[in-house]
């Protein structure tokens, strides 16, 4: 049997549950749903519990992937946009000296209250994530990670997993943007389009990259770059469906404050919450 036929056969295997199984599983699941949530610390493995905005809209995944394969890509894949006045070198230069970056993701709809915010200090190597009431404070210099979950009564301290890198290995705001574009371009053979435009009345350069648009799973990342200061100021992430309709998945805003929250309490954890060490797994 050929490899192709084996692959096709495995792909086409389709099992289905019986009605009795459906009833049994739904009964068990609904019972679990109505059970009051226990007040307990968050589990140690929390990957996926706080989703960084960038990462939500695949930025983080891309940046993470980038750290693995950047060495291969670097020097091979070069941004190829034409007709732009903002160069990668200019953006890199403008972003040198930037310490704090704040990323605000309002999700698919602005103003609906669903906001996730992340701060990155590239000097202190501190990351803070706030979303859905959960506050995470990671200090990569000390290797400590604090986690406040409104369902618990304490802030739990964990060690940061050894394999985890600050900002997915990016050394600054520029690199996060740069890697994202490089990876999308390299993986999808996509072209970066650059044009002049305005964003909320501000003169900007618009960088656009799309992939898989004809498949129904298309995504388009658009980044608005301040034409004078050369900083990314906003981004959107859109899904183009097979029928051509476009759904906004993320509205992202970049800010560069002088400083960020000094600790987990400033980031939103209640002052009354005590810090406790996570129990051994």
């Amino acid at each position: 049997m050929s490899s192709e036929k084996i692959e096709d056969t495995i792909r086409n295997v389709r099992l289905t549950t019986s009605t009795a199984t459906d009833e049994r599983i739904m009964m068990a699941a609904e019972a679990a749903m109505t059970k009051p949530k226990e007040k307990q610390p968050a589990r140690i493995d929390t990957s996926g519990q706080i989703r960084r905005i960038i990462m939500n809209s695949k930025w983080t995944k891309l940046a993470t992937a980038a750290t693995v394969i950047a060495a291969i890509m670097l020097g091979i894949h070069i941004l190829t946009g034409r007709g732009t006045s903002v160069t990668i070198a200019q953006m890199r230069e403008a972003m040198q000296g930037i310490d704090w970056m704040q990323i605000i993701n309002e999700g698919e709809k602005k103003g609906d209250g669903q906001v996730e915010t992340d701060w990155y200090s590239f000097v202190s190597k501190v990351h803070i994530g706030v979303g859905n009431g959960v506050v995470e404070y990671e200090d990569f210099n000390t290797g400590k990670r604090l986690w406040w979950d409104p369902d618990g009564s304490s802030i739990i301290e964990y060690p940061i997993a050894q394999a985890k890198e600050f900002a997915s290995g990016a050394s600054g705001p520029f690199e996060m943007i740069d890697k994202t574009f490089r990876i999308i371009q390299a993986e999808n053979n996509s072209e970066i389009v650059k044009e002049l435009g305005t964003y909320e009345g501000q003169k900007v350069e618009v960088w656009i990259i799309s992939h898989d648009v004809k498949s129904g799973e298309g995504r388009t990342l658009t980044v608005y770059i301040d034409a004078y200061r050369k900083f990314p100021v906003a981004a959107t992430y859109d899904h183009t469906r097979q029928d051509g309709t476009v759904l906004r998945e993320s509205n992202i805003e970049f800010r560069y404050p002088e400083t960020g929250p000094a600790d987990i309490y400033e980031a939103g954890a209640p002052k009354s919450a005590q810090i406790k060490h996570a129990p051994n797994p």
Binding site: I6, R11, V13, I25, A32, G48, V68
Partner: protein, 178 residues
């Protein structure tokens, strides 16, 4: 994706209708994947139940990528079951295998002989190879997504896939020769 976001929002609000919709949308895919990873349909259904009980109780923590969560969850459950199974005595394992064969013929009439043969051949692979093949072909995941999920390099994922498919081809060629 947008539909999943809506379902997740419903789940965060504690709506059982959202839970039910998620179940209906993903149950067959997850059952198929679970069955390809473990050795019998009963265990696969147990995995499926564990996945949805876990989703119902912890789902409020998921912010995005519902499908990724469910696939990861079913793989972890399958690993747990196989770990427990390995700890059983040989006698018990043999008995289990016999029960599986009887169950398969009655509970999965929709599968043709070819598919049944391939599912049994999948059992000859290591779990690591099986996971990659099943996630790619039945979970419709790209290699880089699998690499992220399983926390390994894309090269490892691709080589496990290649060797796994080659081993399947050898196993099935031998069968045909017999």
């Amino acid at each position: 994706m947008s539909e999943d976001r809506q379902l997740l929002k419903g789940l965060h609000r504690g709506e059982s209708a959202a839970l039910r919709q998620i179940y209906l949308k993903y149950k067959d895919d997850l059952l198929t994947i679970a069955r390809s990873l473990v050795h019998d349909i009963n265990t696969a259904e147990d995995c499926l139940q564990d996945v949805f009980v876990s989703l119902a109780s912890d789902g409020y923590r998921i912010r995005s990528n519902l499908k990724g969560y469910l696939l990861s969850s079913v793989v972890n459950r399958a690993r747990d079951y196989l770990r427990r199974e390995t700890a059983q005595s040989n006698f018990q394992v043999n008995m289990q295998t016999k029960r599986i064969d009887a169950t398969e013929t009655t509970n999965i009439p929709a599968l043709d002989e070819n598919m049944k043969t391939i599912i049994r051949a999948l059992e000859k692979l290591s779990l690591e190879q099986r996971e990659v093949i099943v996630l790619h072909l039945q979970g419709d995941m790209k290699f880089r997504e699998i690499a992220t999920m399983l926390d390994m390099s894309i090269n490892t994922v691709q080589s496990r896939y290649r060797y796994g498919i080659e081993k399947l081809r050898q196993v099935l060629t031998k069968k045909e020769a017999i």
